[in-house]
């Protein structure tokens, strides 16, 4: 499903990491969305191997081809470097940065946006506070290109809030509103802002809390969430993920622990039907995409914010061998 620019409407509310934003932007799309992609390509945060960035930037108009060559999992220093350029924006931005092209949402956010930043910051998975700054990065860059153009029409599948019905109140498309949907924040399954008293649900003070991260799999219809604290090793987690997502692959599937020189294992999920391999990647707290298995387990659980099972054809940028990748790290 293509959701090229919708995340920008979320304005700091989206859990989608910037790298995924750019991934989505490159998904093939028709007409107007494609031209919007043009606007963004030149300025968006892109991830690529050293040396591969320039060609990408130049061929930024080729929206259709992007997907297959879209690299991920850039060596860390390069990505951080790219990001540092936007650090001013990140620091300067707040959760309340408003998309001026969409006044209704701005009003709504200004009213209700306050609740976003402070709470649940240490929450399970990616936090709104952090992604706020990430999304701001995207949007502040985008804004400089002319805000109005970037407001997307909704893709057919995506429900859009009708603002034109004489409402006095115009809730932003997909912007998060206080207390909506009406689900109690006590429910641990939600990534909701929990009242401070409920910190025991969240990755907590005493470490006895949970550490929920989202797990997505390319091609699967929905995301799952796992509590990293329930696993004590990569093997356990791999097995659990395999069980969880086994319904999406046909035929024999399994994570094969392939020990590398450093004794760390790399996982692969084989889908015989499609003949493609899956790799397990994660996004760390800096938003960088990494292959799972590179770092010691504890370090991984500390820094992992989101997991993604992606087709290895999409992960060309990821070094095939964990050991080699380690070399590129600081």
């Amino acid at each position: 499903m293509s959701m090229p620019l919708a995340e920008h409407d979320y304005i700091g509310l989206s859990e989608v990491p910037s790298m995924e934003n750019s991934e989505r932007i490159t998904v093939p799309s028709e007409g107007i969305e494609r031209s919007k992609g043009l606007n963004l390509k030149a300025t968006e945060l892109r991830l690529g191997l050293p040396g591969s960035e320039s060609p990408e930037r130049d061929s930024g108009h080729g929206g259709v081809e992007e997907k297959t060559v879209h690299p991920l999992g850039v060596p860390k220093n390069l990505v951080s470097g790219a990001k540092r350029g936007f650090s001013d924006t990140i620091d300067g931005g707040s959760g309340k940065w408003v998309f001026s092209g969409n006044v209704g949402s701005g009003v709504d956010l200004a009213k209700n946006g306050g609740f976003l930043s402070p709470r649940g910051v240490n929450g399970c998975g990616k936090t709104l506070g952090v992604t706020g700054s990430e999304a701001n990065t995207q949007q502040s860059v985008v804004a400089s290109n002319g805000v109005k153009e970037v407001v997307p029409p909704s893709p057919e599948k995506k429900p859009q809030i009708s603002v034109a019905n004489g409402h006095g109140v115009a809730p932003a498309a997909k912007a998060q509103v206080v207390g909506w949907p009406p689900i109690r924040s006590f429910r641990k399954n939600s990534m909701a802002i929990n009242p401070p008293k409920n910190d025991d649900h969240v990755d907590g003070k005493s470490g006895s809390g949970c550490l929920y991260v989202k797990v997505s799999m390319d091609g699967a219809p929905y995301l799952r969430k796992v509590d990293l604290k329930t696993y004590s090793s990569y093997k356990e987690m791999s097995l659990a993920l395999e069980k969880m997502f086994s319904c999406f692959t046909i035929g024999h599937c399994g994570f094969h622990g392939v020990p590398t020189r450093d004794g760390l294992s790399e996982s692969r999920l084989i889908d015989l039907l499609h003949g493609s391999e899956y790799v397990l990647t994660y996004e760390d707290k800096d938003g960088d995409s990494m292959l799972v298995g590179d770092v010691p387990w504890e370090m991984f659980t500390d820094s992992c914010r989101r997991l993604r099972i992606m087709k290895s054809s999409d992960a060309i940028g990821l070094a095939p061998r964990a050991a080699e990748k380690c070399k590129n790290h600081n």
Binding site: E15, I161, P171, G179, P182, S185, N189, Y222
Partner: protein, 588 residues
């Protein structure tokens, strides 16, 4: 009245009673004896209106009191009227406080009530609180003040911690029920459970499923062993399957079970033992918990499934196949709560496996995550309605819906009493026709004549509310969000729904004209909530001035301008304006 005087004349005891056709000649003892048999408070309220003698007889025989809004009456008034109360149900904050719309420290503190109760009802046995603020000190006070205390139920409350539970466990020697649900409480550890004395054996209901900290399993096992009357046990996810098996062996008489974690890797022998334990529980009719249940472990439930009446799967993230397999064993299910990870396919299984289903609640697994676009749709709901014709209570969170689907659903199931539909995207139209969802709710109110509770969502114009006002004659509770086009909508509801008791509205374009159109109606209602609407301070002041028996309270948001009334809470009260209102609550 006439029939009563007739009775007096014709009764064999009429010669014993004073010569009179007046109803009050009926001897008090007899009247009280009869009235003490009345259990429903609605009946009691009717009885109390007959005449003064009946009013008195009723108040002397009432043992249970239900107070739906703690500020509608004061503890002193309750104490004066009902001298013999043993069981109290108290509800505090407006329901939207569950969704963070009410600031902290709003009120509804139980302490002032407890102080009065301790003086007047030393034999108090039961206290059931919802959306009240309860401190640890209050719990300690409770434990110390009522020697015969038997049942404590705390739901959606806040302000206490496991320390308060320690006091209850330690001092309430006659405790039968401890039910802790969904509270904003601090969890400092599971040590409270170990505070039950070793000779304490009266517990019948224990629910600590919402507490995260692990309890001492040995203490729990011993407790379960000696409480031979234990009927309801809901443990938290710290209890493993292995431990659950031991608990079940100790308590085969259980009727309601909330399991702990269902995730453990089991050996075949452990599986067999668990299956055996479940089949031993002949009275088990309700199961919940099932954290992280997977398809490997669910089958151990099967021996108990045939007699299951209520299955609560909201903590088990099941997929459609897993649910289908499970439900194939549950033909007698009346109530089912699931997460929308089961998707439409799972709901099809509901429709085909559970023909006796009366209640379905589908919760979104990731309600706040804009990435997630899947869950259940209109097809799942329709599928359920086809198979489960007795459906009367539905709570359905979905990301798309159509008018046609809802029309079909209520045609299949015209007996709805509670219809709560939440289309997650505010103001979303029919996803096929792009029209408002007016006709959907029109169909609901036209077809479901017994409808008591309705929650609307999606893109709605005033037409929805015209329908509601015109057809929903039994409606008591209405929840509205991001809907309507003008004041007319709310006016239609206030004018048409004669039995309306609770109206909660947020983010709708209803203003002063709408608010004031209900001037005389609010006294017959429990409460009105309006937030983020177009009501002004002047409108509220006018309402307050015209209706002295109403409390009109306004809470303002930080950035709003002076004239706007951001959050308005209106309720009838015989206790006058609140004396404990925090600074951010303005009583007009």
């Amino acid at each position: 009245m006439d029939s009563i005087s007739k009775k007096t004349k014709d009764s064999p005891n009429s010669t014993d009673s004073p010569e009179s056709t007046h109803p009050s000649s009926f001897p008090d003892e007899v009247l009280e004896g009869v009235l003490s048999l009345l259990s429903f408070n609605k009946d009691r309220s009717s009885v109390s209106l007959v005449c003064k003698d009946w009013y008195n007889a009723e108040r002397w025989t009432r043992t249970k009191v239900f107070i739906g809004n703690c500020y509608s009456v004061s503890p002193e008034i309750v104490a004066r009227r009902f001298p013999k109360i043993r069981s109290i149900i108290l509800k505090g904050k407006p329901r939207f406080s569950d969704f963070n719309l009410v600031p902290e420290n709003w009120g509804a503190d139980i302490q002032s009530w407890l102080v009065v109760f301790a003086r007047v009802y030393p034999f108090l046995e039961e206290l059931r609180l919802k959306r009240m603020t309860v401190s640890d000190e209050s719990l300690e006070f409770l434990a110390a003040s009522f020697p015969g205390f038997k049942a404590l139920s705390l739901s959606s409350c806040d302000g206490f911690s496991t320390d308060g539970l320690k006091a209850i466990a330690t001092h309430c020697k006659n405790l039968i029920e401890l039910d802790i649900q969904d509270n904003g409480m601090d969890d400092f550890g599971g040590g409270w459970l170990s505070c039950f004395p070793e000779n304490f054996a009266s517990l019948e209901v224990l629910n600590f499923a919402s507490l995260n900290s692990e309890v001492n399993f040995d203490a729990l096992e011993r407790l379960v062993t000696r409480c031979k009357s234990l009927k309801v046990l809901r443990v938290n996810k710290g209890i493993t399957l292995e431990q659950l098996q031991r608990l079940l062996m100790r308590a085969p008489q259980l009727m309601e079970l909330g399991t702990g974690s269902f995730q453990q890797d089991l050996t075949p022998r452990q599986c067999a033992e668990l299956e055996s334990a479940f089949s031993n529980c002949k009275n088990l009719h309700t199961v919940s918990g099932l954290w992280e249940a997977n398809s490997l472990n669910l089958p151990i439930l099967y021996p108990a499934c045939a007699s299951l009446v209520f299955l609560n799967l909201i903590d088990a993230t099941l997929q459609s196949g897993e649910l289908a397999k499970l439900l194939a064993h549950c033909p007698n299910l009346r109530r089912l709560w699931v997460q929308d990870t089961v998707e439409d396919k799972g709901l099809e299984a509901v429709g085909s496996c559970c023909p006796l289903l009366e209640e379905l609640r589908v919760f979104p697994a990731d309600p706040f995550d804009p990435d997630i676009l899947h869950g259940v749709t209109e097809s799942g709901f329709v599928a359920v309605s086809r198979g489960c014709r007795r459906l009367r209570y539905v709570l359905y969170f979905c990301r798309q819906m159509t008018n046609a689907a809802v029309a079909t659903i209520v045609q299949n199931c015209p007996d709805f009493t509670h219809f709560r539909l939440c289309i997650i995207n505010p103001g979303q139209p029919d996803h096929l026709t792009n029209e408002p969802m007016d006709e959907a709710f029109g169909a609901v109110v036209k077809t479901c004549t017994k409808l008591q509770r309705l929650s609307v969502s999606g893109l709605l114009t005033d037409l929805t509310f015209e329908y509601i006002g015109k057809y929903a004659k039994n409606l008591e509770t209405l929840s509205v969000a991001f809907a309507g086009s003008s004041d007319r909508g709310m006016q239609c509801v206030l004018g048409g729904c004669s039995k309306l008791r609770k109206l909660e509205i947020r983010d709708c374009p209803f203003g002063n004209a709408a608010l004031l159109s209900g001037l005389e109606k609010y006294e017959s209602m429990r409460s009105l909530w309006m937030s983020a609407c177009n009501v002004t301070m002047n409108g509220c002041r006018l309402l307050a001035r015209e209706m002295p028996w109403l409390n009109v309270e306004v809470m303002k948001d930080e950035e709003s301008d002076d004239s706007h009334a951001d959050k308005v809470y209106v309720y009838r009260s015989v206790a006058g304006p609140r004396r404990d209102a925090p600074p951010f609550v303005m009583t007009l």
